[in-house]
């Protein structure tokens, strides 16, 4: 294995993107993800790539649309309010079936909100973010190593399924440094016969477009897209199970909330409480099956989130409400402490929710 280096999560995303062959980055600065743009600004010119600080988030996402149309690996990054601005572009990317990588290092909202960590863009990310029927592949890293690995995975999945992949991180994941090994394997990009990269007078023109004015044709496009989404749901689901074999209580958490919860679980186990965790790594597609199976033996679920309770809805849907699902949360840039999670676990036991 290559030597491990200490890197911020934001920097790991940028380096991994270069590693994945991304040579086009468009963005607009916003805390807490600006290190991604700064890293790209420094590195892209040296390797023949393009870094462009756009005049706005909207401009940046449309530049992504352009480069994706030409068949190249391309990305943009922002934080919550900036992602809202990109909403229209995300929908157009989906409507044109273009592969791209978009990073959201979330901060507290709504509105301009604050600059401290949050997970309150879960709905926005997992339900598409813009208008129309569509999904993005949503990846939720819980370490700097995963920031790097999921960036590469994100590009690969985007190309395979002609979709946008979104890295849904948060301020702590972006700002923290951890050791990371960057000797990661990258699958070469597949052929993109649909790309608008010049006919060389040897083929018909390719057209990349999201406008379709004939209703039954647009309906067919939607049906076909959702067929593809079904394949993604069958093939792409990723999650981590932690101490779930004998668990009576199951924590559902992703990203920083999962890191905090692990501390609480370890302490609860020392106290003899049978608690485990399912950590979704793909938020869409959501790991429904593992939650459904868990509901066979779990008496109570606890969704730990930096939001007012968003993923909790997917946990309830996946478990078909066969067991109660409680919320343990902080918002506005606050992070639940291991003690708060532990107390929630202990209260479940006290109230008979583990029997």
């Amino acid at each position: 294995m290559a030597e491990k280096v200490l890197m911020k999560g934001n920097e790991a995303i940028a380096e991994a993107a270069l590693h994945a062959g991304c040579r086009h980055y468009f963005g607009y600065p916003i805390t807490p993800q600006t290190e991604i743009a700064a890293y790209m600004a420094k590195r892209m010119p040296k390797i023949g790539g393009t870094f462009l600080q756009a005049e706005s988030e909207i401009a940046a996402i449309n530049m992504v649309y352009g480069v994706a149309s030409a068949g190249y690996r391309v990305m943009t990054s922002s934080s919550s309010p900036g992602i809202s601005l990109k909403g229209e572009g995300l929908s157009y990317l989906a409507g044109a079936d273009l592969p791209a990588l978009v990073v959201n290092v979330q901060r507290g909202g709504p509105g301009l909100g604050g600059i401290q960590p949050s997970q309150s863009d879960y709905f926005q990310a997992t339900r598409g973010g813009g208008h129309g029927d569509y999904h993005m592949i949503v990846l939720a890293p819980a370490s700097v190593q995963e920031m790097a690995e999921l960036t590469i995975k994100g590009f690969e999945l985007a190309d395979t399924y002609r979709m946008t992949s979104m890295i849904l991180a948060d301020g702590t994941m972006g700002q923290m440094m951890e050791p990371v090994a960057l000797d990661l394997e990258v699958k070469p990009a597949p052929a993109k016969p649909w790309a608008t990269n010049g006919t060389k007078l040897q083929r018909e023109h390719n057209i990349v477009n999201s406008l379709s004015l004939v209703p039954d044709e647009l309906e067919q496009l939607n049906f076909a897209r959702y067929e593809r989404y079904r394949t993604v749901e069958e093939n792409v689901v990723m999650y981590e199970e932690y101490m779930m074999e004998d668990a009576d209580i199951c924590i559902a958490a992703f990203g920083i909330a999962a890191r905090v919860s692990k501390n609480a679980i370890n302490e609860a186990r020392r106290q003899g409480i049978k608690v485990g965790m399912i950590r979704p790594i793909t938020l869409w597609p959501f790991p429904k099956e593992v939650f459904r199976r868990a509901a066979d033996h779990v008496k109570t679920f606890i969704s730990v989130e930096l939001s007012m309770g968003q993923m909790i809805e997917d946990v309830r849907l996946a478990t078909e409400c066969r067991a109660p699902v409680l919320l343990c949360n902080r918002v506005g840039g606050m992070i639940p402490s291991p003690e708060q999670v532990l107390e929630t676990i202990q209260n479940v036991v006290k109230n008979g929710g583990a029997n």
Partner: protein
């Protein structure tokens, strides 16, 4: 199996983040699991600064240090803010040039180091942070110059390689005080 949770605090410009990064790198070189998490705000310079550093034999769970085993306070607001959070039996390292009061708790080990004064007297006014780091390493029995040099190489860019020696010197001063 051991986990050391450390919190470095002071005001912007004192090298708080750098000191934490050095400790994290030293842990990495010694094949420990490490994490480093800064508090971040909208200001570019000045203001208060702190960072959480965890060095552990086990994978690091939460990177947020709320009950530090080791607290570095390089100014009074930092000591006021974090003194109560230190784990019982933990250590507090205070820059006594800038902090006139004593630590009120009696269940922690306290080290008063006139780091800012020592840094000035030794012609290294920007290295009060590393004087304190030297003292920490000494008290933790981790003052190993090979590991220190290896970690310095990681945190000091090649452009500033001439700063290696003076950083080591600062740590030696800290260890001897």
């Amino acid at each position: 199996m051991s986990t050391k949770q450390m919190l470095f605090s002071g005001f912007g410009g004192q090298g708080i983040l750098f000191a934490g990064k050095f400790i994290a790198y030293k842990g990495l070189i010694e094949e420990k699991q490490v994490s480093w998490l800064p508090s971040y705000g909208p200001e570019m310079r000045g203001g208060t600064a702190s960072c959480s550093v965890i060095v552990s034999d086990d994978p690091v769970g939460s990177p947020i240090v709320s009950k530090p085993d080791v607290l570095v306070a390089m100014n009074l607001p930092s000591l006021d803010r974090f003194e109560a959070s230190v784990a019982p039996g933990g250590m507090i390292f205070a820059d006594s040039t800038l902090i006139e009061r004593k630590v009120a708790r009696d269940d922690v080990k306290v080290f008063y180091i006139p780091a800012t004064r020592l840094a000035g007297e030794n012609g290294m006014p920007t290295l009060a942070n590393m004087i304190i780091v030297g003292k920490i390493l000494k008290e933790l029995n981790e003052f190993d110059e090979d590991a220190i040099n290896a970690a310095l190489k990681k945190v000091i860019s090649a452009k500033h390689a001439d700063m290696m020696e003076v950083n080591l010197k600062a740590m030696r001063i800290g260890a001897e005080n």
